[in-house]
């Protein structure tokens, strides 16, 4: 059975070109870039190239790129590093639909005495920008709002938010883990102060992330113990990871436009195919302004984990906002913030595509979906024949 991988917002396949670029840096060129010998030093040159490549994707200066261990570390560093830099300010503004890498950090800080404002979204998952603007004040240390939502793909107006925060002199961080490589960026022309990115979401390796810190942004290092990354993030560099991420960014920039067109067509085909063949289902999130690869569909009266297991039997990989898949007892906080009824939140499935998906895979999924939905509905006490 072939695998149909439709879970690219969870992680992606490492591009083979990326892997080839990384391969020599394990067993052959394993030197430490900080060393004083040529053997280590040559690795440093390769890191410079990788930094240049990532800067090109983000439209910023190479020295504004800081490599981290993952997107979560970038988010933690941005928020906590800013709070330390502005010890007199005690307020954080974020949204109700952030990834836990931001939301849990904020809630933890709340329990330590910070004021945290979680801005609402509407039923289509769009941010209440007015509420955010009203909350901005002199006590606000940082605003952290994601670029695009991982569950629904809904894109937030980060440039607008960056203008608002810049006017008030407040640091603005955006978690762009899902957006990077899918939405063109030119951070040099933007007022975004910090941005998080993760390697494995754009066909790079796992265990490597970026925190972009705009020149002139006050920031205090989070991880101490070495001079690496200009003293902003200590620890021996993840050399193959950085090189792989650099290559992945280069490829993302090269293919972005063409891919977004093709992937979007596949996504739309999948969505239309499912909605046309399964009753009582609909798309969650603002369809007009979404990532081109993401589709979040709610199926009423049935539960997401059961759908996923049946899809799995056919080799189809997706994910769900149901309580049972998370190991917690509550369904997706994103869908709940949008006011999606429980009936639909428990039965939500996220399909997220990538450049490796084919039309055949999409048609195969469209073919399998109705029988799965029907089987489970036949078992549901909420479906009356």
């Amino acid at each position: 059975m072939n695998t149909v991988y439709l879970d690219s917002n969870a992680t992606t396949k490492v591009d083979e070109e990326v892997f080839e670029e990384m391969a020599p840096y394990f067993c052959e060129l394993y030197g430490n870039p900080s060393s004083m010998h040529t053997f280590g030093g040559q690795v440093g040159k390769k890191l410079t190239q990788a930094r240049q490549r990532t800067a090109e994707l983000l439209g910023c200066l190479p020295e504004e790129i800081m490599f981290t261990g993952c997107g979560t570390e970038s988010d933690n560093t941005a928020i906590k590093g800013t709070l330390v830099a502005y010890p007199q300010k005690k307020k954080i503004i974020t949204s109700r639909v952030e990834h836990p890498a931001v939301l849990q950090v904020c809630r933890d800080l709340q329990s330590k005495g910070y004021t945290v404002v979680e801005v609402d979204v509407d039923k289509k998952g769009r941010l209440n920008v007015q509420q955010l603007e009203d909350e901005l004040d002199g006590n606000t240390a940082i605003v952290s709002i994601m670029h695009a939502n991982n569950e629904t793909g809904v894109i937030f107006p980060v440039e607008k938010i960056a203008e608002l925060t810049a006017e008030k002199g407040v640091v603005f961080h955006t978690d762009a883990v899902q957006a990077a490589g899918k939405i063109p960026m030119n951070l040099s022309d933007s007022s975004v102060n910090m941005l998080s990115l993760s390697g494995h979401k754009l066909h790079g390796p796992k265990g490597i992330g970026i925190l972009y810190v705009k020149k002139g942004t006050r920031f205090t290092p989070f991880i101490l113990g070495g001079h690496q990354e200009s003293g902003r993030r200590a620890g021996t560099e993840n050399v193959p990871g950085i090189i792989g991420l650099g290559k992945a960014c280069q490829l993302a920039k090269k293919y972005m436009e063409e891919e977004n067109r093709r992937v979007k067509n596949l996504r739309d085909r999948l969505e239309e195919g499912i909605l046309g063949n399964c009753p009582d289902c609909w798309v969650n999130g603002n369809k007009e302004n979404r990532l081109p690869n993401t589709s979040n569909i709610s199926f009423e009266y049935i539960e997401g984990e059961a759908i996923l297991l049946m899809l799995d039997q056919h080799g189809i990989c997706a994910s769900s906002g149901s309580a049972c898949t998370s190991g917690s007892l509550e369904p997706s906080h994103v869908l709940r913030a949008m006011g999606i009824p429980f009936t639909a939140a428990h039965g939500s499935i996220r399909f997220s595509l990538s450049r490796y998906n084919t039309e055949e895979q999409i048609d195969y999924t469209i073919e399998k979906m109705p029988e799965i939905i029907n089987r489970l509905r036949e078992m549901s006490p909420f479906v009356v024949k």
Partner: protein, 294 residues
Amino acid sequence: MWDYSKKLKDHFFNPRNVGEIDNPDGVGEVGSLACGDALKLTFKLDENKRIKDAKFKTFGCASAIATSSVLTEMIKGMTIEEAEKVNNKDIADYLGGLPEQKMHCSVMGREALEAAIDNYRTGGKKKHELEGKVVCTCFGVTENEIERVIRENDIETVEQVTNYCKAGGGCGGCKGEIERIIQKVKGKKAKPAVSKSAEKPKELTNIQKIQLVQQTINEQIRPSLKSHGGDIELIDVEGDKVIVAFRGMCAQCQVSEFTMKEVVEAKLKEFVTDSLYVTEAEDSLNKPHKHRSD
């Protein structure tokens, strides 16, 4: 991914006895859409008062469906007296074990069976209802139920209680109370309860009553509704009638009749006075039940 047993997977992919029996002798309905799983169990007895047929309909994850399926198989051929001895551990064992976080599925199976037996004994009158003090407002779990899972499964921690009956798995506000119940059941020296004790004042003036109702709503009820994306508003208090409106998610939730009104009433009775009852304000009731998000 969950580590499900072979038998569980078999019962999920090939469920036995799906459906509803016409004119059943017993019906048990537990759970709700809001809680993420629900089970409707029906059975029919033969002339010797043994369970001749049993069927299920389940909304829920793979383990909820598999649990329901094995339950119907287990009870076929049993007398009512035998069936009522089946506990959640038996169901889980029959399945070849359940992941710890999924044990609540086996408890739901046992609850449905119990509800169906009650329903049979009362001649089709009795429906499943909350008995005893509600401890977990998010999932509507009572003290009786928590005590029972602790005893039957030899539970030691709050986390286990959550895995077995969901109590404490929402806003987490009742974890102190659960800890106290564990201590009580285990016969250890009870720790001072973390949550406020429900000592009710004897005589209340109208003003005091309204204030206490508001305080109870703010402290005991709102946090759990908020964690579900909902909210509650106190509209008025007329004598013993407390009028509230549910907002946000709770207003649209089709099970709010059970999880919300009943739970709010239980909490108010516990913290204010026994004679109170709750009704929903007109505007909250009349809100169209919207399923579509646009």
